[in-house]
């Protein structure tokens, strides 16, 4: 030890005992020896390192294990309960009267009539919520290969990675459905999609990727997720294989790719196909309850919801939808309070006011029926629909459907889709894809004046929040 030499050279005798240095000071003038014990920092370089390696906050970890990463995916209020509301506000499941519309904030008014400046700036909007979920997914994906217990907990490892890929895909799908024009194979390579952020490096500037690249990313992530996720989830709040297949099917449907949609719908149904019998079944609340269904009911494959947007809480169901339910159709009273009641949709699968937009088996039945009809398989398509509807009608009153052609069957299926999946946040996707196929659906708002959204209009890509455009410099969607 060098400093022992130093002590000696200046007239002291020093020795190390344990962690301490004993120094004898030889003071010749006073002819006395002093023994002193001093704590030394010099001897403690290794002790010092140990001292400083203590964690500064027990609740904080640098993610190094599978379990650490799983915690991010289990933050349900952040992952499952912040789905974008733009699609439901911008579509036509409901209407509002002028007084109520005027009482909304300016940005909420604008979104309802597809005007620019439709989002409050800052942290609260859908765009930010989705990209921050993507960040969480990317934290998992960036760290997953380096966790120390990858081999030891390989099942959990696959599950977490699958969840992160599923989450990222779901977010990008939501982003594309809201802020990009509908998928069109002929123009997708040039259409502006959304920025694709695939790692956590926030120093990389945001650039809008093409719609084609966006959908490729969604499909690739979902396919990987499907390979990694378990067949059965611990709880529907987490995705499993069926959820990944169902989301693949929903994505292919939005791209108008019928075969692929049907392929994945069937794969999902093979894993889960329960339906509730609306005449009284597990998952339904007592008659007269404010909300008809409980959360995580047997039809739910993956649970996620949209917090009630202000516009929706003032909305009323469109009469044409309400009146289209048959008198024996239980959905009429289980879903709706009355044709004119303002209030939260009571048929949601969240058990509360929030709008369910997760994945449920009824959607799979409808996708399967639609794809079969589009492929010309009239009988099987109607048969699939019958399987669903018989559980929606009063016992013994349901009459199986008939159609003369596959086209007619498709028409029936599309009507039933609208009735079954009302207030699921799916209508916006449907209008976009159906108009691409020439359905010519015109959306109108009659307020202080009439606002119209023509089929395939540029306004189908909703305006990006102004502050995002300003700060990132990405191009705004043209109106």
């Amino acid at each position: 030890m060098d400093y022992l030499q130093i002590f000696k050279s200046i007239g002291y005798e020093a020795a190390i005992h344990g962690g301490f240095i004993t120094i004898k000071i030889i003071n010749r003038q006073m002819k006395t020896l002093y023994s002193i014990l001093i704590l030394t920092a010099m001897a403690g370089l290794s002790g010092c390192k140990k001292f400083l390696d203590e964690k500064s906050n027990k609740k904080l970890v640098v993610p190094t294990t599978v379990a650490d990463l799983q915690t991010l995916m289990d933050d349900r209020s952040f992952i499952n309960e912040k789905e974008p509301s733009a699609g439901i506000v911008a579509s036509d499941d409901f209407y509002m009267n002028t007084a109520d519309w005027l009482s909304l904030t300016e940005v909420a008014r604008n979104l309802f009539v597809w005007e620019p400046n439709a989002y409050a700036t800052g942290a609260g909007n859908n765009w930010v919520a989705l990209y921050s979920q993507i960040y969480s997914a990317n934290v998992v994906l960036d760290n997953i290969e380096d966790v120390k217990d990858k081999q030891a907990r390989f099942t959990e490892w696959k599950n977490v990675k699958g969840q992160a890929l599923f989450l990222r895909a779901r977010c990008y799908a939501n982003l594309l459905h809201t802020w990009a024009m509908p998928y069109d194979a002929t123009t997708a390579n040039n259409d502006m999609g959304v920025p694709l952020r695939l790692d956590v490096n926030f120093n990389v500037p945001s650039v809008r990727a093409s719609v084609a690249l966006g959908y490729q990313q969604v499909l690739a992530d979902l396919r990987s997720a499907a390979g990694l996720l378990p067949a059965q989830p611990l709880h529907p709040i987490r995705p499993a294989k069926a959820a990944a297949y169902a989301l693949l099917a929903r994505t292919f449907l939005s791209m108008n790719l019928t075969d692929s949609c049907l392929y994945y719908t069937e794969k999902a149904l093979a894993l889960k196909n329960n339906l509730m019998n609306y005449n009284g079944d597990v998952g339904m609340n007592a008659a007269g309850a404010t909300y008809s269904f409980s959360r995580f009911n047997p039809e739910v494959i993956y649970d996620s919801f949209i917090p009630v947007p202000a516009a929706l809480s003032k909305g009323m169901i469109l009469a044409e939808i309400y009146n289209s339910y048959h008198a024996n159709d239980l959905r009429k009273t289980l879903y709706h309070r009355s044709s004119t009641t303002i209030g939260n949709f009571k048929g949601t699968y969240t058990g509360g006011a929030s709008v369910f937009n997760g994945i449920a088996t009824d959607e799979l039945y409808l996708m399967k029926a639609e794809c079969l009809a589009r492929k010309g398989d009239k009988d099987n398509s109607l048969k699939t629909l019958d399987d669903l509807l018989i559980k929606r009608f009063k016992t013994g009153t349901y009459i199986p459907l008939t159609a003369s052609t596959a086209e007619q069957a498709l028409e029936i299926i599309m009507q039933e889709r609208r009735k079954e999946l009302v207030f699921r946040g799916l209508r916006w996707l449907d209008v976009r894809r159906l108009n691409k196929m020439g359905a010519n659906i015109v959306m109108k708002r009659t307020l202080d004046r009439e606002y119209v959204l023509q089929p395939n209009e540029l306004k189908y890509a909703l305006p990006i929040p102004e502050d995002i455009v300003t700060i990132s410099g990405i191009p705004q969607n043209p109106r």
Binding site: I25, N27, M30, Y34, L39, T40, A41, C48, L52, E54, K55, S56, N57, K58, K59, L60, V61, V62, T71, D75, R76, M96, N97, L102, T105, E106, R109, N117, A123, W127, V128, S132, I134, Y135, S136, N143, R197, V200, F202, P205, S206, H235, I237, N285, A289, T290, Y291, S294, R295, I342, N344, G351, G352, A353, E466, I468, T470, I471, S472, I474
Partner: protein, 1064 residues
């Protein structure tokens, strides 16, 4: 103790020939300054208890046996002298007493690591002595220091992001308000607990360390300045001294009328307009039954035919006559009364000196919140031998606080503010329900008698619940000094502190919070039987926190003179640890009598009684644990030559266990150098008008760290996911491997002087500081996934400079003594470099303060104002130099370069003037404070908030209503539907910015002292009677609207105090 000895300047002992028979001690007492004999000086010798006065020639003779004695000499207007005497025979002792006026010479400042004579210091210190410290009576140490220290700016209550009672020492040293806090040292160690635990009567004096030479010994935490609190100690060989202090202060309730609340009649008129527009009609049908205001309910009753036109008009006019502030004044606010008692005893023998104090505070706030604090402090110094000294300090504080009544602004409806016409009680004083959460009518009838009353009664609700906080704090320091050689001392100090606190929030079953939760989880079966999922009983939330801190310091002190040099060096190492642990838990069905609780199911969902939706019974259980460790090595040296020239240097390195510091700057070196030259000791400057003249120069670096910022991604574990029962993690930190500690370099130039025999003294200092590697929360594209929209980066550099000037005068005019103390501080800062550019003005408007290159750290910007449109009262602004009403363009596109820069929110010139008058036994002290050269934004009407929250403003009455009004007002017209961008533009437009300069009378204190030396009939040593008044209000302000630029919601209420203190 060392202070006393170093304080003694001249001592001469002349040994006479030993005479076997006549053993007398002859004394000559003189004024050390003018060398004149002092008559009537008191001489006391122990043992023997001999007392004598010096004669008119300054001489005195005392007969003594041989032996060891302690001798004290007192004279009015001089410092008391004490000395040890080895009496071997006839001796002449000449004792020079130092006049008190020249005390400056012997001022000792403390850095926490050492005390040093201010004379030899090269750094910038502000000492607040005991007298000035006691000019204000208050329960809190820091509150007493706000306006009295040179170089220290009290922050306006309006600026909330710097914390409560915040002080800035030489301005901002960071761009992150969250870490702009001075380091507080108590008796040598960083104080880790709540400063309210310190009994202010135990504090002897306070030193502010303002520059690098003074503060860099504190290293990485010192950039914001250091406040060193020194507690009272006993002295050796001192007779027992006891002192008792009792103070009572009373504070008036806050001035609610200062709040620019909208008139009730105006609010009702607005609501009538909204009603006519069917505003919120949809809410009548909502299943959540949102509440409406009282006026709106009357209008609905009228619409439904339950009231006719005239009944409605009468009801609304009755409503319009009421102002809720009257109810707050009548039912909630009262005078605050603070009582403070302190007793301290001190004494010392040759081997031991001790100090014991006990304090008791009992405060009742103007909202009837109660606070009591009992404190006990023991301080002992032992002298084992000439070489070994030890000290043991133990302080214990126990405090209790109980919440009081609700303050103005804390009661609101779920969907709006409290309407100004609300009444809390009927004419008989009975509590009225406030329909704050659910609609009137619905909530009156819900449950068919099966539920608890679901209404909320603000008048009485607070009395059914309370939050009680108990804090116990023990702090012990053990010190050991070992003098190895006459010039070398080893010292070790160990400090341990533990603070335990327990907070209990009890919501009894009568309390709305509990009733609401119980009702929500009540299930009424078809047969009428009632099940309570949340038990019918009280709800107790308990939080326990434990803080344990330890410090260990080992230090080597060298003090050696050779030839004409004197070298003072200290070197040491310090290890510290601060551990926090906490637990919050909730107990349902709590019974305070039986201490029983009822378990509840916090996992499964139950239908909410009101909505039928699935809800989980809230659980608040939460554990916390942090451990911050630091290891440091430091050194400090001073070399003086002939007591005139001094050079100092210091260096320190710190390391911490904060995450990720391993990769960047775990060991951060910080240093300083300084020089001082005492000109007044030069022969060529010897002049009887110049008692002291000293020049100082220092330069050095201090650091600043934000413990929450680290270089790796960290997750924070939270509670469990209720469904998967697995832990939830959230991202706590976005990684930034390049993050470095902030550094502040400061150059300080100072002159200290004392002229005309102390009639004029003071100091003039100029400093320049250069801040580098400043953290700032820089805006970032939220598309990156960072939802907060900002990340902390070392983005900037800034510089600041200012003058700290303090001038003190003393004058004696017959029996009247006048003193004055003028503090003049200037401060300006500028961000010189910022790596991220802010282009749009709006980014600064919302933040409240802006970080912009080329401007002050607390810069204020505004949209340019072009007046009101004469045709409809719309506010008009500019875009690209063109007058426009396109608010989207103004708000979203205005570039910073087009916005109007007003100035800083922090004053450029500030300080105070203290005046003192002495006349016989009376002493009058008062202090004025002032701030100049800064700006603030006043509040005004925001129509968006008015419509959606019923949040009005008195400016509504001033609004534009018809053409021509634009010449008398700048308040825009009211239009419905509201336009948020129009509001945003007006709120941030230049028309709402005001100059913030003011002069204020801070306090007056009148005291009357009876002293046994003058009043010989007094059985005790002295008695001091004090009457004081604080926060006396503004005497001049720059704004013409009568606004207090420092006020938050309201100005601080005035206080009057009475105090008695006595020594015996």
């Amino acid at each position: 103790m060392r202070k006393l000895f170093t304080g003694i300047t001249l001592l001469q002992m002349v040994f006479a020939a030993i005479c076997a028979h006549a053993q007398s001690l002859r004394l000559y007492i003189y004024d050390a300054h003018n060398r004149q004999a002092i008559a009537g000086a008191g001489i006391h010798i122990s043992p023997g208890n001999i007392s004598q006065l010096s004669g008119s020639d300054g001489n005195a003779v005392v007969n003594l046996q041989r032996g060891n004695y302690t001798l004290w000499v007192n004279s009015l207007g001089h410092q008391k002298q004490q000395l040890e005497l080895q009496f071997t025979g006839d001796t002449l002792l000449r004792i020079g007493l130092v006049p008190q006026a020249l005390q400056l010479d012997s001022v000792v400042v403390s850095t926490g690591y050492q005390t040093l004579a201010k004379e030899r210091a090269t750094g910038s210190f502000t000492l607040v002595d005991n007298k000035r410290y006691n000019e204000q009576i208050g329960a809190n140490v820091l509150e007493r220091l706000r306006y009295i220290a040179n170089g220290v700016a009290p922050v306006a209550d309006r600026i909330t992001n710097l914390g409560e009672n915040a002080m800035l020492i030489r301005g901002m040293s960071t761009l992150s308000p969250g870490i702009q806090r001075p380091l507080v040292i108590v008796d040598g160690f960083e104080y880790q607990g709540d400063l309210n635990n310190i009994n202010p009567n135990d504090i002897d004096n306070v030193t502010f360390l303002k520059d690098a030479a003074a503060g860099s010994i504190w290293g990485a935490k010192a950039a914001n300045g250091v406040i060193v609190l020194s507690t009272k100690k006993g002295s050796r060989n001192q007779k027992v001294n006891a002192s008792v202090t009792a103070n009572v202060s009373t504070g008036s309730p806050p001035e609610l009328n200062y709040i620019r609340q909208m008139a009730s009649t105006d609010l009702i008129a607005v609501e009538q307009l909204l009603f006519a527009n069917k505003y919120r009609f949809a809410d009548t049908a909502r299943t959540t039954h949102p509440p409406f205001s009282e006026a709106y309910e009357l209008m609905f009753a009228h619409k439904n035919g339950k009231l006719n036109d005239s009944q409605l008009a009468v009801a609304l006019s009755i409503l319009g006559q009421h102002d809720v502030r009257q109810d707050f004044n009548r039912y909630f606010y009262q005078n605050a009364v603070d009582q403070q008692f302190a007793l301290n005893l001190s004494g010392g023998s040759n081997l031991l000196s001790w100090y014991i104090s006990a304090g008791r505070d009992y405060n009742v706030s103007n909202l009837d919140a109660k606070y009591s604090r009992n404190s006990l402090r023991l301080s002992n110094q032992f002298r084992f031998s000439n070489r070994i000294n030890a000290s043991l300090d133990v302080a214990y504080t126990a405090s209790n606080s109980t919440s009081g009544k609700p303050a103005y602004g804390t009661i609101s409806l779920t969907n709006s503010r409290l309407p100004s016409y609300t009444s809390f009680a009927d004419e008989n004083g009975n509590a009225l329900p406030l329909y704050a959460y659910y609609r009137k009518g619905y909530i009156d009838e819900i449950g068919n008698g099966k539920l608890l009353d679901w209404r909320y009664y603000p008048l009485t609700d607070y009395s059914y619940g309370s939050t009680k906080n108990e804090v116990g704090d023990i702090n012990a320091t053990l010190g050991l000094d070992y003098k190895v050689l006459d010039w070398l001392k080893l010292s070790a100090k160990y400090r341990v502190q533990q603070q335990l606190s327990e907070q209990n929030t009890l919501n009894t079953v009568e309390n709305y919070y509990a009733r609401n939760l119980i009702n929500t989880f009540t299930q009424v079966a078809a047969n009428g039987s009632v099940t309570y999922k949340v038990p019918l009983g009280d709800i107790l939330d308990r939080t326990n926190e434990k803080l344990s801190a330890q410090n260990l310091r080992a230090q080597l002190n060298l003090d050696r003179c050779f030839n004409q040099f004197r070298l003072v060096v200290l070197m040491g190492t310090e290890w510290s640890e601060k551990v926090n642990n906490g637990l919050t838990d909730r107990f349902y069905g709590y019974d305070d009598e039986l201490l029983s609780i009822v378990p509840v199911d916090v996992i499964n969902q139950y239908p909410s009684y009101m909505t039928g939706g699935s809800v989980i019974i809230p659980s608040v259980t939460n554990f916390r644990g942090t451990n911050n460790r630091f290891a440091s090595v430091y050194g400090n040296g001073a070399l003086s030559y002939r007591d005139r020239y001094t050079l100092t240097a210091s260096a320190r390195r710190d390391a911490s266990n904060l995450f990720g510091q391993a990769t960047n700057d775990r060991w951060k070196p910080l240093w300083s150098v300084g020089a001082a030259w005492i000109l007044s000791k030069e022969h060529w400057l010897k002049h009887d008008k110049v008692q002291e003249l000293k020049l100082r120069l220092s330069y050095g670096k201090q650091g600043n760290i934000d413990p929450s910022k680290v270089a790796v991604t960290t997750l924070s574990y939270g509670s469990n996911n209720a469904y998967t029962l697995t832990p939830i993690g959230t991202i706590n930190n976005y990684p930034n491997p390049d993050l470095r500690w902030e550094q502040v370099a400061m150059l300080n130039l100072g002159v200290d002087f004392s002229l005309f025999k102390g009639k004029l003294s003071g100091s003039i200092e100029h400093y320049r500081k250069y801040m580098t590697d400043l953290y700032a929360n820089m805006q970032i594209d939220r598309t990156t996934g960072i939802a907060s929209g900002s990340v902390t980066r070392n983005v900037g550099q800034a510089k600041g400079n200012g003058w700290d000037i303090e001038l003190r005068t003393r004058q004696q005019m017959g029996a009247i003594g006048l003193t004055s103390d003028l503090i003049v501080n200037t401060y300006t800062d500028k961000i010189t470099k910022l790596n991220t550019e802010i282009a749009e003005a709006k980014q600064l408007m919302s933040a409240g303060f802006g970080v912009v290159q080329g401007y002050s750290i607390y810069a204020l910007f505004a949209y340019k104002w072009a007046g009101l449109d004469p045709t409809n009262g719309d506010p008009m602004g500019y875009y690209n130099g063109q007058q426009t009403k396109d608010y989207n363009l103004i708000v979203n596109q205005t570039l910073l370069t087009d916005a109007e820069y007003l100035g800083s929110q922090l004053p450029k010139l500030f300080g105070s003037l203290g005046l003192g008058v002495n006349w016989h036994n009376f002493n009058l002290a008062c202090r004025f404070s002032y701030k100049f050269g800064h700006y603030f934004r006043r509040s005004s009407i925001d129509y968006g908030a008015l419509v959606s929250l019923l949040n009005g403003h008195a400016d509504y009455a001033e609004r534009w209503q018809q053409p021509g009004d634009e010449t008398r007002t700048n308040v825009p017209s009211f239009v419905y539907p509201v336009n948020a961008l129009r509001d945003n533009f007006y709120t941030n437009s230049a028309t709402l910015f005001e100059k913030a300069s003011y002069v204020r009378l801070q306090y007056i204190k009148l005291s009357y002292q009876l002293d046994s030396q003058r009043q010989r009939w007094l059985p005790i040593k002295n008695l001091n009677v004090v009457v004081a008044a604080n926060e006396l209000g503004i005497i001049w302000r720059a704004n013409r609207l009568g606004l207090d630029p420092d006020a938050g919601l309201m100005p601080r209420p005035g206080r009057v105090s009475f105090g008695l203190s006595t020594n015996f």
